[in-house]
Symmetry: C2
Subunit: 267 residues, 2 copies
């Protein structure tokens, strides 16, 4: 079969999915790389509409391609240049799946079994969002909610940074940050905001309590309205001369402090 | 004063410092951005040989420029294009200092007052190295040692990712990883290696003990010879479906677990 080029209509249509408006219109996005494609197929092959692979990627990942075919996914060979056009990263992986959007509504997401939720309120950088989704997944979070004008988690750089984790746990996009916080509170979660100016230090918090951690924009932090709605702003202690942590490492410290405390034997 | 262009000999010489060999030959490196320049001046103005600034950056950071002049640092105006040539990042900051290399020898670095050290053994990505240096600084580490064939911490992307932290705590470059581990042990530090395949989980470790945390290459982990030399390989628990954490978030979890445990009241 002759590989599709960057001018083949199905490749042209897929390339449009690098734009958020087109993703929202079609309900589809691109998952690039063997990690992401494997996670997409493992989650739900019915959510994978087509798999584009270069000859080289097909040789590198024969199990993935065979698994996709067995699951009834259309597998289409593409040229290297076509693959580059579908890539939002510097080094195209040569394997890209067209998938159904992953996010679900906030309504009905959380109940009283929830123990750990990450809320990103206005996070702008897709790489940061993806890394936090990966950390939240690793920490066993019940969901990640991208609130306010946070970046779309279906952005290619976010999918890549998440290393498959966008497929592992429930994701929500919710414009209304206060509604997000209210839903977390209604599910019985304590609301903690990571805030470099907070009085309370992380070590002073009972981290074993079921918690929604709220993280703000990389440059501007949390919107004041949201900060007023949380139960407690919490500061990660800075023992050296650094003025702050970056978003992903701060989220790692907060989410793991909660996850490990919840599993520590009482006493 | 007419701004220097990318052809002005001093700018040409500075541009060569984007190469490691030239940095090692001259003993100098480039610190780009207001954060880094501010930290360089705060640490030791004598280690800052020249400050290049565009007109726009000079207007944005008048205190920095004035502070440099007062400290006797030569301040040289440059064009935007010259600034771009000195930048190793996508968005040139327009303010770049030529500084003395920061690393010091391993010999004599550590004594029995050391409580927390981060060892990067073969870490390849400068952004990762810089982020770990920032986290180690925030966690109050006594030093960061870049061992084996780790990236040069004076690399522009590393300096940028460290957000000034390369100037805040002692840095060592040491080719001999085993000598590095021996020096940590001689200083009374327990050696823990972050290792996804370890039996022992992080939560099972007494984190309050003075510790050198050893982190390996992003793709290949620790060299086997180094893994055999540590006291204990330790695994960060993965509670969800993620297969791993990335280096920077893993380091954040390990270093902060130690830093916070060491400061927790006994009981």
């Amino acid at each position: 079969m002759v590989p599709f080029t960057e001018r083949t209509p199905r490749v042209v249509a897929a390339r449009r999915l690098t734009r958020r408006a087109e993703r929202d219109k079609t309900g589809r996005f691109l998952a690039e790389g063997a990690n992401a494609v494997g996670a997409a197929l493992a989650r739900d092959p019915g959510g994978v509409h087509e798999l584009f692979v270069t000859e080289r990627a097909a040789q590198a990942h024969p199990d993935l391609v065979a698994g996709a075919r067995e699951a009834g996914v259309r597998v289409s060979p593409i040229t290297h240049r076509a693959a580059a056009g579908l890539s939002e990263t510097v080094t195209p992986q040569g394997i890209v799946a067209v998938c159904s959007l992953l996010d679900r509504p906030l309504d009905g997401l959380l109940d009283h079994t929830a123990r750990l939720v990450a809320v990103l309120a206005g996070v702008a950088d897709p790489g940061n969002a993806g890394t936090v989704i990966r950390v939240a997944d690793a920490a066993g979070a019940d969901a990640v909610i991208l609130a306010g004008d946070s970046v779309d988690p279906h952005n290619g750089k976010c999918v890549r940074a998440s290393a498959g984790s966008v497929f592992h746990l429930p994701l929500v996009r919710e414009r209304d940050t206060l509604a997000t916080l209210a839903a977390c509170r209604a599910a019985g979660l304590r609301l903690l905001a990571a805030d470099g100016y907070a009085e309370t230090e992380l070590g002073a918090v009972d981290a074993a309590v079921p918690t929604a951690w709220v993280f703000g924009n990389e440059a501007h932090g949390l919107p004041p309205g949201a900060l007023a709605e949380v139960d407690l702003p919490v500061r990660i202690p800075l023992y050296g001369a650094a003025e702050s942590l970056n978003l992903a490492t701060a989220a790692a410290v907060c989410l793991y402090t909660s996850a490990m405390a919840a599993r520590r034997p009482a006493g």
